[in-house]
Subunit: 405 residues, 3 copies
């Protein structure tokens, strides 16, 4: 993978830079204002939301002429929602507005406070930890071990970016990129830096997330990253299906066991539905480890696919929460460094990566939208091709290496 | 009860609307700018406070020409203070300024962090819970029960309104109304919406609070609401009295037992005074359940009354905290769905109402100020009339159904 | 000690005053705009930082023509950094930006959340408590004792000033003073007010901090205050030394015992270094109790000294954290009312002062920078002179009266 190159034909606008004191409250750039090689209309705009829980939340709206999406620098560079033609990307959470971190107490409800701000299409979980809340051991300033509560899915989604810039390459294909830097640091604790670039080509059906996590300390540090990619209607509906090339799928717990027969299919909104979670060992291309998963609708004429490498993100989790519409009818596709169990369990299974001082981890996640039967079938064929390299096993009970008992 | 009707003769100004991206930093409207049928001068103005702990706190000041009050949309549509002629409505808390929720950690001091922002005249306690801090059981995303700490008096007072509008009806009687919507929501938790309208007629001595709490989820949800109506000098002084028609009054605990002889009378500021709390079963009008309570000064020539229906708020609590002036010389009159014990105890006593999916609860609280002996006597006579329907019993020890042992 | 006198020759600008609703977003005053008796160029400017975790952090930059420093009213009137010629005052924390309190959860990591915002040159720790996190007993609203967790170093550094003003005396010596008032208050808890004035004379190498802590309640209240004065490069380097006149120095714990031979000397950055803490009983002048400590570099041609009275601050702590540069290479010189152990232990040792209702505590801390061998030697001579009044004892093991076992 490579990070975007700045060439003379690339226009860069820095909107926020804490080091130099630069900050832009509102800003816009579009194809009428900037001459390019293409005649596809596009735009990128930044604003700061006001009122209620969204007071002070910055957002960047990118429209490539076909695909549009809203980035939230204030919430760790997450993606609130997207739109591609008639296909809405995202879901309807009981939480209506993007929530400023000042209103989120991560420790609320026994470490579930993160859920008070959870309504994004794509939300990063990390960086110090992610997964279920639970006790884990840290080392304090005195060098002593201490048991503390890790809260669900960590702090990243409630940490604002300290730099924000927009790049537009004016040569065909015109590419719009938004880069943010988010620091999750403390004295005597982790100092992890996320450098995230989200880019999309004018007129395309895809956006690419290129993320780098750097351990800014000299001491080694653990980190975790999970991309919580969430879909509601219209891609999620009765008869929708999750396609993925896999070696193994296992239910997380007894509730998931109850749904294991139809683990990859979705039902209509069902009041009182309790979430079912399935852990995947996916198959990727030999060498690159590239893989692809697809959520498609019942008719098979619309879907969204995620492409990533198992080298950086070996774990994939399917979160099925087909509850009543008002309660959050949603499924989460979750490529990650780990499964979203409590960190202590994941460490015991060898699934918590460690960065040496100054070392970085990089990943690339490509999110595409498909709005025709032909496109959907092409991705299905690709998945079927990958599946040929491995026998697909579905465990009918939780496996100890994947689920804490 | 009925919610305000919008007629062609009503002027509406939307100041905040998160859905449409509308937000107004500062705004004013008064009787010079808007022609009405009345010549009583009135005004309504919105501003955003700056500096210290009040940074970012929005407030709406309503002056009906006789009664004025300050609404805090940022603090759950609470009322910071009021004024009617010489009668100050409110009290002097050690907390001097209206506190922005970002500076309040509800979990502080074992769940007493709410007290760091407590200085309102009328503060709503709820909606998921109110009352003393204590453990209670919730259901988490996995459908499992988990014990968590509920913090004192809940989150509502530290949750900002997501919409805010002002309505003025121009026909006599000219009525000024302020409506706010406050969402207390989370994924896998309660999603309760407060729609609150505070209205007052030009020249009157009264304001009316009409509140609706809606369960926005499909699943049933508990809720609690308590109106913490707090008075210091001048209505609270040595010799002040609380008048209320009741069947039963019981002391909450041993400390309240110590003051039970004078449970409805108030002393001068007394350094080291420990709060005394009395639980009331009030008497209301047959049918409507309407009742009225009155705090009056020593001379009996000034007071403030609360009118509400026992159908929506069957419980009433008197909080006596006649501590030193510097420490918070105050009494709280608290109509509510419940007594302010920990939620677990209240549930066991059947006093935690449940809203079905989409269902609403409504209430109306009318707060009046009386500045003559004649007015005070009229309310006293009304209370005496209500008392005739029941024998008044004062328990001299805590009762198990009202107080946890 | 005396607080600054306002004379006709003093110009006062109030920048923030919550009581009167006054607030100034940005402001500047300098020697070109205000005629004085001196021709030394000076300036004082206020701005509000934007972006990332520093969004909304107010800062006041003072430059006396020789010494400059940045005050953070939003962080309890702390000093982010200073500069005097080539001598940088402050250190490089893994936390890069001044952090707004809204992003700090003091309860994080078992009460170590304060470390998420810790990067100041001089940071006050208090007022209700400071020191290590730990359980302690409070009295709640019911008059009952309850055990709660006190978080490390208290709330003051994450509490914004409610008033802020600048005074310039125009007669020689021209003096620039910045005064802020910070309230740490709650109902049924402490109501402590810090009134802090930081002043410096044009062209001088010194700034003076005059602080007053007032118990605004009628009831007596404990308080603690510690000045965490932190230095990295260039004053901290291999061969730097801490000079102080003392009767007793004792290591805090086993780790400090390991470094007791060179307790007053510093090594180069050492990856994995665990903090070593030494508790001092200093020697002061007979009568006034005035004392001075000095951190000087290896060559002895640059240093910074702290002057204060043992009457107000009888305890002094040396914090050595010569870890890797990336992890926070820093030493803290900490004059205080107490040693930074958990409050419960300090109370047991009689080191937690109590203020009666309305009573105040005052202190003065003078911080100077020395950039020549001659100046450094002069302070060393002064320290040697003070040392002559007492025999210096270095304990080789923790002492029960100073360290919890």
């Amino acid at each position: 993978m490579s990070f975007p190159q700045v060439t003379p034909l690339t226009v860069t606008h820095t909107l926020t830079d804490v080091d130099s004191g630069l900050h832009t409250e509102a800003w816009t750039l579009d194809s009428r204002a900037l001459a390019t090689d293409s005649d596809i209309p596009w735009s990128v705009a930044k604003q700061t939301l006001k009122g209620g829980m969204q007071e002070g939340v910055e957002c960047v709206d990118v429209d490539n002429g076909a695909l549009s999406f809203r980035i939230l620098p204030t919430r760790g560079m997450g993606l609130l929602r997207g739109q591609y033609g008639d296909v809405r990307l995202g879901w309807d959470s009981p939480v209506k507005d993007p929530v400023h971190p000042a209103f989120v107490d991560l420790k609320d409800r026994g470490g579930l406070g993160w859920l008070r701000g959870f309504n994004e299409w794509i939300c990063r979980c990390g960086m110090e930890s992610n997964g279920s809340p639970g006790p884990d051991v840290i080392v304090d300033n005195n060098g002593n071990e201490a048991e503390v509560l890790l809260t669900v899915h960590g702090k990243l989604a409630n940490t604002p970016a300290r730099t924000l810039s927009v790049q537009v390459s004016t040569q065909d294909p015109v590419t719009i990129s938004v880069t943010g830097v988010v620091d999750e640091t403390m004295m005597f604790g982790p100092a992890l830096r996320l450098t995230s670039t989200l880019s999309t080509e004018a007129g395309s059906n895809m956006l690419t997330i290129r993320d780098r996590v750097t351990n800014m300390k000299r001491e080694p540090a653990e980190f975790q990253l999970l991309y919580h990619c969430n879909y509601g209607v219209p891609l999620l509906e009765r008869g929708s299906k999750l396609l993925a090339p896999f070696k193994l799928v296992a239910p997380r717990d007894a509730t998931a066991v109850g749904g294991v027969d139809g683990f990859d299919r979705f039902g209509r909104p069902q009041p009182g539905f309790v979430e079912q979670v399935y852990f995947y060992e996916l198959v990727g291309k030999r060498g690159s480890g590239e893989t692809v998963v697809l959520l498609r609708n019942a008719k098979g004429d619309a879907g969204s696919s995620l492409r990533f490498s198992l080298k950086s993100m070996p774990c994939f989790t399917l979160w099925k929460n087909t509850a009543a519409k008002e309660d959050g009818y949603v499924t989460g596709l979750e490529p990650a460094t780990n499964y979203p169990n409590a960190r202590r369990f994941e460490r015991d299974q060898g699934r918590v990566p460690v960065l040496q001082g100054g070392e970085s981890w990089e990943t690339e996640l490509r999110v595409a939208v498909h709005d025709s039967r032909k496109q959907v079938r092409a991705v299905e064929a690709e998945i079927n091709g990958l599946q040929m390299a491995a026998r697909a096993t579905v465990a009918t009970a939780p496996l100890g290496k994947l689920s804490p008992v």
